[in-house]
Amino acid sequence: MHIREEDRRAERENSGLLPLVFGMVVALGILVNFAPNQRIDFEQTGLGINTRENFSSKNGEVFHCSDFNNGDQCIKTMNKNKGLRHVLWFGASQLHAINDMQPGDRTAVSRLHEKLLLRDTLLTAFSQANGNLQEHDVLFEYIRQKARVDVLVLGMVYDDMRESGVRATIKGALLSKKTAKALAQSSTGRLILQRYKDGGKDISSSPKKYTTLQQKTEAYLNERLSRMANVWAARADFRGQLVVALDKLRRQVLIARNAIFGIDSKKWTVRIDDGQYAVNRGALAAILQSAQRAKIPVLLYVAPRPIDAYFPYDLQKYQAYKNDIAKLGASYGVTLVNLEDTVKGDVWGTIDNGVGKIVTDIFHFKASGHAQMAKSIFKALDPILKGLPNQ
């Protein structure tokens, strides 16, 4: 057979079994040695210093979930309580994270859930770390296909306008044909469907959710291998640790850049890219339009933040964002309620700002902050609940 130069070179470069075998043995040895025996919860590490997540349930009924994978438990609770009015609350980690958590501490969701039960109302919440509006759009359409929603509460966090995509643990909702059909009513929904057109068939869910032979086989094999070898089960931890290490490297690069250019890292600014803002705004419009069509009243609120702490965003752009969201809400008959200044006092946590400085965590607070937040959400929600027809 005629051999080209590139074929000859490939033959030369790829001969020899020993380096391959030695390399594999060395790699396996290192991985086995460093594989953690317990799984690492990376969601917790992103929450800030001394801040933990807390998802609520009561008497075996789950009412605070994070995504598609555990969401069916919340939907089950909703359907078990059809006689009650249903309030659905979407937000980011502010809803489930408690700084300096002590035994008995409760989130705003848990407090409000208890209070609303006295008003024959069931509160269900879905929140994710850095949850964005595209994910809320997907979840909203998914939940609406499976359970009745009487009121939607939607927290607006400026930082989340820069988040992109739908995470693996939520895009499984796209497998539902009804959800896909509902999402396709909006341009953002169609964008999401196009992007995840394989339906988000991710191995991170349980085997029964897979449809092709490949996925079922792969899920089965992974489960077996994870049980047989801790080093296989630890792969997700290795990936997480790599991301954390790369993030640390990135921080060092930024610290070096600040030192070289004389930038004061206390005055760093987080950018919200116009493009990502536009996509998330589109998702918000899709949610509001869908709620309007279904005659679901919406409580749209600006999330609480510590007013006297450094706010790492362009203040003009932030004001423009609030005006924009208010105008968008008004076009769908929804009023934007500003709850920025409703969590006061020394209740906020602390966090590394990404360039080596410990600063006030402007998203997460202590249990007393959750109590304040629950009170302010209830106050804003009350008129809406009073306006609902009786069940």
Binding site: M1, E6, A10, S15, G23, A27, L213, N222, D273
Partner: protein, 500 residues
């Protein structure tokens, strides 16, 4: 079955072990059954579509060889082409054709158009139909005899390492290897394993992680992107598709090699190319040579003869073909090549872009002579961004987005904001709308390409003379590659070329 999965690796080990323990005929049965199983993991019902193509060409090629009547030979060839291309046209282009017809109807005021059917594209159809067609044409051209053993021929078409996304093999490359069982050589196992490992690394560590940034970036409204953003996204996608597709080829070549079967190289570091012509000698080599031999030469009216030894290509005799005809043939070939990749006008734009680049390069090369060192440095510096830019229509969501992003590159203000610069904001003077990670990754990949080029050209020859150092470096490299594959191996994303 997807290559980047535990299922495939187990399947491969099982097939290879059985392969080496069986004599010739059972071995062919094993490969055939294994290939159908491999394909059926996706959808078993589309096996029948594939087998229809195999059967048609097996029968027709035999009939072509059995007759000397030129008209009858030509008719039989036409039947094969119509059958194969008809299958491809139905599954791949029906929706595209109907959508465009509806657009035409609406222009004439007709509101009711054709109903668009829901047709699922059989995976690999673009590859196996082309492979099968090349066999029939080669028999017609009398370059090879018709294969009389159905099992052997079927294995040529459906052989699982190359079934879904190539390399597009010529019958002469494969028949003799499938027919004669090669001797077991440990070096084949070494070679095959290395290639598979490289491929998996490129796919699961590099391509799939770059894809996250590419997907996020191309979803953004094109009006919010600056020129730097467009270049960055283009480069990121260019690297993603290269790592993704070359990964497939590595794994295909490696998997076949574990069974002692040698496939030709499909990629040769295309981003080190110094001209558009050089690029197409390095990128998807099996398809570009196929297109040249079975489409471009016939469109030019070139008479061909088989010049190479048992070979990979046909060479043209000197012909009096007018420049005008060559020009038209070039553009037609590239437009068809674009459409082969996907049923959308963006792919046609991609094809036309490359035709323009080749014509432009030919004109430049005929007018200008530069010293070799300048040809290399200038050539690479100009070729890389131009080839990367060709990926824009390939990836953008629509023709409108393609044009919008493309024209952004010609707006000076999209590169430099003099107002911000005058105000003293150095960083803001270069408008950027993506997070800093995008630019860092794109820049690292370009620098990495340069380093690879330098290592291959200058370090490799040195290392070949220093065996101990070479051994240690290779061991370290494999340790890193294996660790990456071990940690990242998950079938979360199929190969890009599966959609073609």
């Amino acid at each position: 079955m997807i290559f980047n999965s535990v299922s495939y690796l187990l399947f491969l080990v099982l097939v290879v072990c059985l392969y080496w323990s069986l004599p010739r005929k059972p071995k062919l049965v094993l490969l055939f059954v294994a290939s159908l199983t491999f394909y059926g993991f996706w959808r078993w019902e589309y096996i029948f579509v594939m087998m229809a193509s195999v059967l048609i060409d097996f029968v027709i090629a035999a009939k072509i060889e059995n007759t000397e009547n030129q008209t009858r030979r030509r008719t039989l060839l036409a039947i094969s082409l119509v059958a194969n291309l008809g299958l491809l046209a139905y599954f791949k282009y029906t929706v595209f054709a109907l959508e465009n017809l509806n657009v035409v109807f609406s222009l004439f005021g007709r509101t009711e158009g054709w109903t668009i059917p829901n047709i699922l594209l059989p995976i690999g159809i673009s590859f196996y139909t082309f492979q099968s067609i090349s066999y029939t044409i080669d028999v017609y051209r009398r370059f090879i005899p018709a294969q009389r053993e159905f099992l052997l021929f079927a294995n040529y078409v459906v052989f699982f390492p190359q079934l879904i996304a190539g390399p597009v093999l010529r019958a002469r490359e494969v028949f003799w290897q499938l027919n004669k069982r090669p001797d077991f050589v440990l070096d084949d196992i070494a070679y095959g394993s290395r290639r598979i490992l490289y491929g998996l690394f490129l796919k699961v560590v590099l391509a799939d992680n770059i894809a996250v940034f590419v997907d996020d970036g191309f979803v953004l409204p094109s009006s919010t992107l600056s020129a730097w953003d467009v270049w960055t996204l283009t480069f990121l996608f260019g690297f993603q598709i290269y790592f993704d597709f070359s990964a497939y080829s590595h794994i295909a070549i490696g998997s076949a090699r574990l069974m002692g079967i040698k496939f030709p190289e499909n990629f040769n570091f295309p981003y080190l190319a110094i001209s558009p012509k050089d690029f197409w000698r390095r990128w998807h080599i099996s398809l570009s040579s196929w297109i040249r031999d079975y489409l471009y030469f016939p469109l030019c009216g070139t008479k061909v003869r088989d010049e190479s030894v048992g070979g990979l290509s046909v060479a043209s005799e000197k012909n009096n073909i007018s420049e005008r005809r060559r020009f038209v043939a070039l553009f037609a070939t590239w437009a068809i090549m674009g459409l082969w990749h996907g049923a959308a006008w963006t792919f046609v734009v991609w094809g036309i872009w490359h035709a323009i680049m080749i014509v432009g390069y030919r004109a430049w090369a005929s007018l200008v002579t530069v010293p070799k060192w300048l040809a290399y440095t200038l050539g690479w510096t100009v070729t890389l961004p131009l080839m990367m830019l060709g990926w824009l229509p390939f990836r953008a969501a629509s023709l409108e987005d393609t044009m919008s992003m493309f024209f952004t590159l010609f707006r000076p203000v999209a590169y430099f904001d003099s107002v911000q610069f005058s105000a003293g904001y150095m960083m803001a003077a270069f408008p950027r709308n993506l997070s800093v990670d995008y630019y860092l990754i794109a820049a690292s990949l370009v620098v990495g390409t340069l380093i690879v080029g330098l290592v291959r050209n200058y370090m490799d020859p040195l290392l070949m003379r220093m065996q101990a150092v070479s051994f240690v470096m290779q061991t370290t490299l494999f340790a890193i590659i294996f660790s990456g594959v071990f940690v990242f191996l998950r079938p979360i994303r199929q190969f890009i070329y599966f959609q073609f």
